[in-house]
Amino acid sequence: MDFEIRDTPEVAAFRKEVREWLDANVSEDLLVHSPDPADYSDEQYRKRRELGRKLGAKGWLYPTYPKEYGGGGLPLDLAVVTAEEMEARFLESPPHYDHSNMPAASILIWGTEEQRRTLLPQLLRGEFVTWMLLTEPQGGTDLANVQTRAIRDGDDYIVNGTKTLVGSDRAPDLLWSIVLTDPGGPRHENVSWLLIPADLPGITIHPLPLLTNTSGVRIGSMPFKHKNSVYFDDVRVPAEWRIGEENKGWKVGGTTLELEHGGAGNIRHNRLLEWVFEYCGTTQLGGQPLIEDSDVRDVLADLYIDSELQRLFGLRSYWMAHAKQKQSYEGVLSSLHRRNASERLAFGLQKILGNAALVQDKELAPLSGYVNLVERAFFVSIHAGGSRNINKVNIARRLGIGRGYVEEAAPLPD
């Protein structure tokens, strides 16, 4: 058993190549790191988009995807190296809000060969920004009950309806949407997926500000000013943008949901907690560092345990997903734990830092206000990307609790 990549000569050479490229293309000042959306100018966004495209051209946004479609075609050991080196520079993949990985995985598994040849390369190269459109005003958790209609008319679908709590404060190129293609049909056999170009006539996007507008708090992610509602008013979408068979969207959607629920895993550390530990080690209150207070140490101990579990669960799923191991409940369990841990983190930080945790002031707030972001982000994190309760439903089904059979995880690209 080995928790680390052994740097064989081949891996070491590749790591050197990745580092050199990142040193040349990601200068220390290139990326702004701030929890305040107001600190990100249009210029900063443009730079992040450009960097995303450059990473895409190297195949490093989707390192394990087939080279023939624009991916990196890399084996696990080398893919991990790209992930590690980017992670070390607080560089997300891509470095801006984007859910292109969802349609990309779905096209790879469920799309036609034509779609793989025409759509995939642009997605894998980071040329498009995709928003994922699932939730509607009347519900998100009961995803099978979507009401946005896409009715066939010749070679097109006519789309009508509303999606909400989606996107970021920058314009999308594509909208990855689950829609109702057979309104009279049976549940789970009446939905389909459309990859809708966002500039089609009839699409309106309205900003929707929430308490916080980012679900994860990662140093390096761009926070944004608002989410959105998207209105479809007789939008004509060519049928070639449908991915997977008509009315088979519930099966196709399994891939999207598996990814959303943590199936792909990750190799991330909890950088914020590392910063909190260091902060507590160097910040004094009443003449002693915070970390010397036994109450603070007790809280930090529990937060550290949570973060180690999160890291190990993410790593386990990453390995299983990329080493072709059949997964069951592991990805979903890691998603559940992540949300539970984020709840304890938010409360734990307030216990340690008190009022300082509640303000985002650039002078007074610890860690430039990231802590305040955590306090607010928790409320989004527990349900964004599938609620905790849905995680539990899925885990129960994957374990076969109360049933005579065990539900299988949906397929992911390997």
């Binding site: 260091e278 550290y304 190990l312 650039k362 049933r403």
Partner: protein, 403 residues
Amino acid sequence: MDLSLNERQQLLRDAAAAFIKSEASREVIAEMDSANESFNAGHWKKAAGLGFLGMAVPSPYGGEGATLMDTAVVFEELGRAPLPGPYFSSGVFAAQLILEGGSEEQKRTVLPEVCRGARIVVPAITDWPVRWGPEAVEVTARPKNGSLVLEGSKPYVMDAAVADQLLCAVRTGAASSNRAEGISLVLVDKGTPGVSIRPLAGLWTGVAEVKFESAEISAERLVGSENRGWNVVDQSALRVLPVLTAYMAGGIERLGSMALSYSQTRVVFGQPIGRFQRVQDHIIQIYLHLDAARWTTYHAIWKLENDRPANSSVHLAKVVASEGYHEAADLAAEVYAGVGIAMGVGTVPHVRMSRAHYETLGNPLYHKRRMMAALQEEDWPGESVRAQLAKLNAGRETLRASR
């Protein structure tokens, strides 16, 4: 990166699982539990034959020379039963204490017998009901004509009643402000005059009170350097804790699979009880604890086997396994309801074992404190984070100055 068990480990796991299935099934363990038996000589002999005792002892001293991971894989299976007896105390912990602290002669005479199962050596370390640490060692050992005279008591020694010898931590040094100094390890034969072993009844089975009333032993029974015994205890514990946490993870796994299958077959309100979300929540929580215990155990072992600073991970694994096993037993018992505390069902042995091992080699409060100290020693999170924070603070100062 490869998070699978290798072929040898899979074979060991299968061999241990087969042993438990044929010798120590749920029914057998439940019967032993009802009869208050915490040791079965037949199991012991078979386990010795399979090489499960003193696995990690190098082969010149009679062991298999197995890795820590090999040992953990076997112990996870034993913990599933849960197999009661000195498998860990003698076969793992005592063996490690002697390996760490014993003389060459002691290693050559004692270890082979421990590995064959011919000699059961049980560590008897602390004297207090709670709080693991050198301050909890109070039994004195005073020199007298080439002997040591032991005085005091160790009220809660697991497996003491079946020991051939007790490996005891005793105070040989003068009183000093540093309680970690002045402790020695000595081997005490069962039946030594003045040594009484009294099995205790209650929730915890297999535990006994050991009393020393002017008990005289030869000074040659010293294991390791005089007055440096606590260091041997601590170093050995850090090495063997992940084997214990693997055993506990096995217990969590059994509780999870029992609750799972019960959820599928127990019908109440006209449906299998697993259809109720409250029951699902209990079982999901058990599996969270299982994966947490297993993976923190594997990670700690990987660090130990690869010469990485491991202490913070070892302490963390003990916290996670202790809290996890303890809660898993509660949750499974609740899924089973009244049936869960019926003797003979199979949850009760895990209730007992989860409570006992919560304390073994230190409880979670102790290990959290040690974990935080270890993180400081390991300089976690380290230089790069320091540099990042310095940059952040510089930015803040600039802002302040500009106001």
